[in-house]
């Protein structure tokens, strides 16, 4: 049907030409939209500029000071030197092993730090807190230093828990090599009891979590592995050791679940309990996500989907990651941290992934529950909406109330490989990443790194929770803008001041200790728990704090984040609240204990009722 419009001499209706011109303008505006969005995003990121300490303290309520050297901590992680066949891409493979975990090893009331290194012959360090602001490495004296040997592999991380309920926390050192369990002999030394674990002689573990899954009062242990157990990275018969896929790999190591028999020995029941996946596990954390009274388990996997295991209460776990929504899209899971970010008395979950502009933008996940107590878990990712999605090549993360305002803030470490140059390896990485498994899986096919970086020199991130549904990047303002290749971060009140200090372990870099100065306008309370019917470390205990209509939730962790473990004490910031209604402790045994109106600005020691 012919157009009824009047046409111009050129043949096109004038109205249509006008609309065409208008469309062109709109088109140009749309092309400019990404630039505008970027500008607006950077404007809202204005808090991420360096400030003087006093200004940052006034503006954000806290500021960090890096004090490792004056504190006497001069620890540097060294990577493993693996089989020469991997030499062209050695930094990509030898990219793990910087870990930090917190323990009060001798029960003197001061929190100590255990840091791992990964070079053959390198010594792990146990920095005993002397209580005067300084630390002393006592790992050699106590027998925890010399664990990185050619015959037994190297450390990747460590988690502490009182597995024998003698009051002193023991340590499990997970390795690419022989896993080690050391029993704490009343703070005076450690005895190696690794043979009682029931684990294979050699595994390539990247994470471990203490938790009492069967609520029998004895701590059990989950161990997550990266490479299969038959891979000895120092003696490779071939170079086919890389994952079969970057998003769907299932040829990693199997994971283990060690049930504590209560007699000092463990029974490996992983497969029988339902842990049958062989993905490339990097991190794990436990929490009672369905609020049925027993701890469930989240497993973060590189090169694929994550796993969420519901504790069925009968010694078995049921994997529900896909159904719950946390495992529908494969990413590069590298962290698992639980926290009650909205103060609703339920666990949100932060999982870090890779975000490299223009190359690979997984985005980190902040999964918030959408289910009611006791219902089948479901989650929604709100990382983008809250502003904690894009960090970098992200590894360890922790929730903690850094300014004591009553809301959990977030610290995320970043950076994979900072090479000799800042030239990027990403192009070469993308070559093989898109290829078939026969190409990817063989390290011999990978282009040589040649000193280049892969998401190197990235700053860590500190996001401040404003309590109104947004997190604000304050990294530079509060003094946390280091560009080492961050791996683990742990929160701990190192100087017993009622504030959370941060300790960051960097791959091929120093252990950084950030002493926190927090505003005095905000109150706090800390709780040190000791189980009696429950495991003595009280790992898995949930603490609900109630004050003037608000509630907060913490738990005692047996390892979380990435290659990290926070202090066992629960720390709450209280904002301007000066009086509490109550604190309710739900012990792993099921016992519920209520402390009415506990005093604020002090540490409380709470013992489980017999």
């Amino acid at each position: 049907m012919p157009s009824r419009q009047r046409t111009s001499p050129e043949g096109a209706p004038p109205r249509r030409r006008l609309i065409s011109a208008l469309a062109a303008v709109v088109f140009l505006a749309l092309l400019a939209a990404p630039l505008v969005i970027r500008h607006l995003a950077s404007a809202s990121d204005a808090g991420n500029v360096a400030l003087s300490g006093s200004v940052a303290l006034e503006r954000y309520g806290f500021v960090f000071e890096e004090v490792s050297r004056p504190a006497g901590i001069r620890f540097r992680h060294e990577p493993p030197d693996l089989d020469a066949k991997l030499e062209p891409i050695m930094p990509l493979v030898a990219a793990y092993g910087a870990a930090v975990s917190v323990v009060d090893v001798d029960r003197d009331g001061w929190q100590d730090l255990y840091a791992t290194t990964s070079a053959i012959g390198g010594h792990n360090a146990l920095y005993r807190n002397l209580g005067d602001g300084t630390f002393k490495d006592v790992a050699g004296r106590l027998g925890l230093a010399d664990v990185n040997r050619e015959a037994t592999g190297v450390s990747i991380g460590a988690v502490w828990g009182d597995y024998d309920n003698d009051g002193y926390e023991d340590v499990f050192v997970y390795k690419w090599g022989r896993p080690e369990l050391f029993r704490n002999d009343r703070g005076r030394g450690f005895t190696r009891v690794s043979e009682r674990l029931g684990l294979p002689a050699w595994i390539n573990a990247n994470t471990a979590v203490w938790f009492d899954f069967d609520a029998d009062g004895w701590l059990d242990l989950f161990v997550g592995c990266f490479y299969p157990a038959d891979v000895d990275l120092w003696n490779l018969p071939h170079t086919r050791i890389m994952p079969e896929s970057f998003e769907y790999a299932q040829d990693g190591g199997r994971n283990y679940l060690l049930r504590n028999r209560g007699d000092g020995s463990f029974e490996e029941i992983g497969e029988a309990a339902g842990l049958r996946a062989t993905r490339w596990t990097l991190a794990a954390a436990a929490a009672d996500v369905d609020r049925d009274g027993d701890p469930d388990l989240f497993v973060a996997n590189d090169y694929g989907i994550n796993e969420l295991y519901l504790n069925e209460g009968d010694g078995r776990f049921r994997e529900i990651g896909r159904a719950a929504g946390v495992a529908r899209s494969p990413k590069s899971g590298m962290n698992a941290s639980f926290g009650d970010v909205f103060n609703r008395g339920e666990w949100a979950l932060y999982v870090s992934n890779i975000s490299e502009p223009g190359v690979l933008i997984h985005g980190n996940d902040l999964w918030v529950p959408t289910h009611a107590a006791g219902a089948e878990p479901g989650y929604q990712n709100v990382a983008g909406a809250l502003g904690v999605e894009l960090a970098g090549f992200a590894f360890g993360a922790q929730f903690g109330d850094l300014n004591n305002d009553g809301w959990l803030d977030l610290f995320v470490t970043n950076g994979y490989v900072s090479g000799e140059t800042r030239d990027s390896y990403w192009y070469d990485y993308s070559l093989v990443a898109g290829g078939h498994r026969n190409i990817i899986a063989d390290a011999g096919n990978w282009p040589a790194l040649r000193g280049r970086s892969l998401s190197g020199y990235q700053e860590d991130r500190v996001w401040l929770n404003d309590g109104a549904g947004r997190f604000r990047n304050v990294t530079r303002a509060v003094g946390a803008a280091n560009t080492y290749d961050g791996r683990a971060v742990a929160f701990v009140d190192l100087w017993n001041r009622g504030v959370l200090d941060a300790v960051v372990a960097n791959q091929r870099g120093p252990l950084l200790v950030y002493r926190t100065a927090a505003t005095r306008e905000h109150g706090w309370i800390e709780l040190a728990l000791e189980g009696t019917r429950s495991n003595r470390s009280a790992i898995g205990a949930e603490i609900h704090l109630y004050a003037t209509g608000q509630q907060q939730l913490r738990q005692i962790e047996g390892g979380n984040g990435f290659a990290a473990q926070n202090q066992r004490r629960a720390h709450f910031g209280l904002g301007t609240t000066t009086a509490l209604d109550s604190v309710v402790v739900r012990w792993p045994s099921g016992t519920v204990q209520t402390i009415t109106a506990p005093a604020v600005n002090m540490l409380h020691t709470i013992r489980e009722p017999e």
Partner: protein, 279 residues
């Protein structure tokens, strides 16, 4: 009742989309799929009506939406909407009298990658690890474009890619397997089967189209030597319209010289291939 062959590609790509997401969860999510498709379809509907008064090419817009969904990866939602709208708008804004110049999906994806790298990345991973899905997609895809008489373009491109991969390997020192690796992934399957075969991105004659495909592979190699990750998209972005403009110029010159000769094959704007390409 006969099967409308123009529906072959939309159906095939839809099946790939559903299969890929159901099996591997490889897409951003259903909301991204819906957003991209709604964006392209609505834009097509409005612009086609307003600017030409003709019925909208909804199948084409639908394919553009799916293409954006498959080939773009972003944790954010807005790139899917913006990419969809830009893709379709490019058809109506960037055109000659004989039709548009860019493959809409290629334009939209390049615009996003160039202007919003902080939010967008290209599809760069596999569809699972098995050989069979890859072979099935190649087989069905090749059959589809063979029926559409466009297989020569894909074959020329793939052979050129393998040849230039060897050249790159010799120049860079990387293994040949690494240089060949990208073409074993899904991004290249979609690119080689459905994007470069778009009549809008190449010339009309068979050998001319073969030459353009080889030229795309050559320019891609130059981008790759410069370590540009989006090399195939950018190569097609440059070569496709250039080839079309060259053909238009050449045709007009020939027509001026030989006004009595029949017009060159009216490829531009014909859209009349048996299978719709990625748009």
């Amino acid at each position: 009742m006969t099967f409308d062959r123009r529906l072959a590609a939309p159906l095939l790509i839809t099946l790939i989309l559903i299969g890929a997401h159901w099996s591997f969860g490889m897409l951003r999510g259903y909301e991204a799929i819906a957003l991209a498709i709604v964006s392209t379809v609505v834009t097509e509907f409005v612009l086609r009506r307003v600017l030409t008064g003709q019925p909208p090419q909804l199948a084409s817009a639908y394919i553009s939406g799916i293409s954006i969904t498959i080939l773009v990866r972003s944790p954010l939602l807005w790139p899917y909407a913006l990419g969809g709208v830009i893709s379709v708008m490019s058809k109506y804004v960037l055109r000659t009298r004989r039709g548009h110049l860019w493959n809409p999906s290629n334009f939209g994806i390049c615009a996003l990658l160039f202007l919003a790298p902080y939010a967008v990345a290209p599809l760069s991973v596999q569809w699972g690890n098995n050989l069979w899905p890859m072979l099935v997609i190649w087989a069905v895809g090749l059959f589809t474009i063979w029926r559409a008489r466009r297989a020569h373009i894909t074959i020329a491109y793939v052979l050129s890619f393998f040849l230039f991969a060897l050249v790159r390997s010799l120049i860079t020192g990387s293994s040949y397997a690494a240089e060949v690796a990208p073409i074993t992934g899904p991004m290249y399957q979609l690119f080689a089967l459905f994007m470069i075969t778009d009549p809008k991105t190449t010339v009309s004659s068979t050998w001319g189209a073969v030459a353009v495909a080889i030229l795309v592979a050559l320019v891609e190699t130059l981008f790759r030597l410069a370590e540009v990750i989006y090399a195939p998209f950018y190569a097609l972005f440059l070569v496709g319209p250039s080839a079309l403009l060259a053909e238009i110029w050449w045709t007009s010159v020939a027509k001026r010289r030989h006004p009595e000769a029949p017009a060159a094959a009216a490829l531009v704007g014909n859209g009349g291939t048996a299978a719709e390409p990625l748009r």
